[in-house]
C-alpha cells in the first residue's frame, strides 16, 4: 500500500512540475539564481544516489560487488562507451564478482 502512495505522489508531483513550466509566464523562473540551482540540483541528487546505491544496504554502509560493477561503469564512461554498454558493464561485472564469491 505504501508503495502505491509513493507512486501516486511521484506521478502527481512529476506531472505538475512539467505542467508548471508550460503554464507559467516565461520570466517567472528566469532568474539566474533559480536557473543555476535548477541546474545543480540534479548533480547533487544523482551523486548522492549513485553513492548510496553503490555503498549501502538498508541503513548500513557496505563495500561489495556493486562497487566493482559501478567502478567498471565509471571506466566505461571515461572510454565514452554508449549508455547501454555502461549499464551492461556494471551489471556483468557485479554478477561476475558475486559468482566468484565477492
Amino acid at each position: 500500500m505504501s508503495i502505491w502512495i509513493a507512486i501516486g505522489a511521484t506521478a502527481v508531483g512529476c506531472y505538475l512540475v512539467k505542467l508548471v513550466g508550460l503554464l507559467v509566464p516565461a520570466d517567472t523562473l528566469e532568474r539566474p539564481l533559480v536557473q543555476r540551482l535548477a541546474a545543480l540540483l540534479p548533480v547533487a541528487l544523482l551523486a548522492a544516489l549513485t553513492a548510496q546505491q553503490t555503498f549501502s544496504t538498508g541503513q548500513s554502509l557496505v563495500l561489495d560487488a556493486r562497487a566493482a560493477g559501478v567502478g567498471a561503469a565509471a571506466l566505461a564512461l571515461l572510454l565514452r562507451a554508449p549508455f547501454l554498454v555502461v549499464v551492461g558493464v556494471a551489471v556483468a561485472v557485479t554478477a561476475g564478482v558475486r559468482a566468484l564469491g565477492g
Binding site: 502512495i5 508531483g13 523562473l29 535548477a38 546505491q53 564512461l77
Partner: protein, 320 residues
Amino acid sequence: MAEQTARPDIPAGEAYATAAPSTALAARTEGPTPGRGDAAGPRPGPVPGDAPSAPGEPKPDSAVVRDALGVGIAVGLSGFAFGVTSAGSGLTLLQTCVLSLLVFTGASQFALVGAIAAGGNPLAAAAGAFFLGVRNAFYGLRLSQLLALPRFVRPLAAHWVIDETTAVALAQPTRRSARLGFTVTGLTLYVLWNLTTLLGALGAEAIGDTDAWGIDAAGPAVFLALLAPMLRTATERAVAGLAVLLGLGFLPVLPAGVPVLVAAVAAPAVLWLKGRAIGDGVSGGGSTRGGSTRGGSTRDGSTRDGVGRTKKAQRKERER
C-alpha cells in the same frame, strides 16, 4: 548545465542557433530521463548536426523525424533496465508499469524504486524523485515559448516534457520543425519506454534472484552515466563531492530517503560558498564576472545568505 544557466541571457532568436547545441547536449546528458540511452553514446542527429544551420531556415520534415526517431529509439530501449531494476526492487509488474506510464521521467523512476528497495518512508522516497523531476519545469518554460502550444493542448503535451524531447525540439530551426520533433520524439519514447519497461519487468520475474545477476548495479550505473557529463566545471564537481559526503554520512543516522534530500542541499551550499568567494574577490578586481550570469546569481545568492547562513553553518559542522 552551465549552458542552461547561460542561456537566459541569449535572446530568443539566437537561442536556436547558438544555444541549441549546448542545450541539446546538456539536456540529453544531464537529464535524468528515461535513461538517456545516449548519454555517452553515439549522438543522434540533433546535437551536433543541426546546430550550425541558420535560425529560421526550414528543415525537411524527414530530417526532423529521423533525428527524433534516433533519440526516441535509443533512449526508449533503456526502459528495459528500468523494468528489471524496478521488479528487482520488489515492485509488482503493475506498479512498475504504472510508474513508466504516469511518471515518465527516468531518473525519478529509478530514484523512487531505489528508495523503496531501501525501505524508506514512501513520502520521502517520492520527494527525492520529485526533486529530480523539477528540472522538467525549466524545460517546459523553454518549450512553451518555442512551441507556442494552444492552452488546451498543454496539459497533454506536459507529460512529454523531458530531457530528450526538449533537446530535440530546441535543436530545430523553426517552430514547425520543433513541434514535429517534440511530437515524434515524445511519441516514440513514450511507446518504447513503456514497452521495454514491461518486457524488463517480465524478464526480471522470469530470472528470479536479480541480485545474482548484478541487476542491483544497474540503478547506480544509470545515475553515474547521467551524472558524468554534468561534471564539467569545478562547481559541479564540488556539488557532487559534497552530495556524496552528505548522502553517505547521513545514511546510517537518518531515516531512509531523507539523506538524499539532505544531500540536495549541496547545490545551494556550494553556490553560496562560491558567491562568497567571488564576493570577497570583487574588491580585488572581480569585475569581469560582474556582468555574467554567474555574477547575477552570485548577487542573488548573497542576498539569501542572511537567511541561509546559520543553517548551512550547522550543516557543515554536522558533516564534519
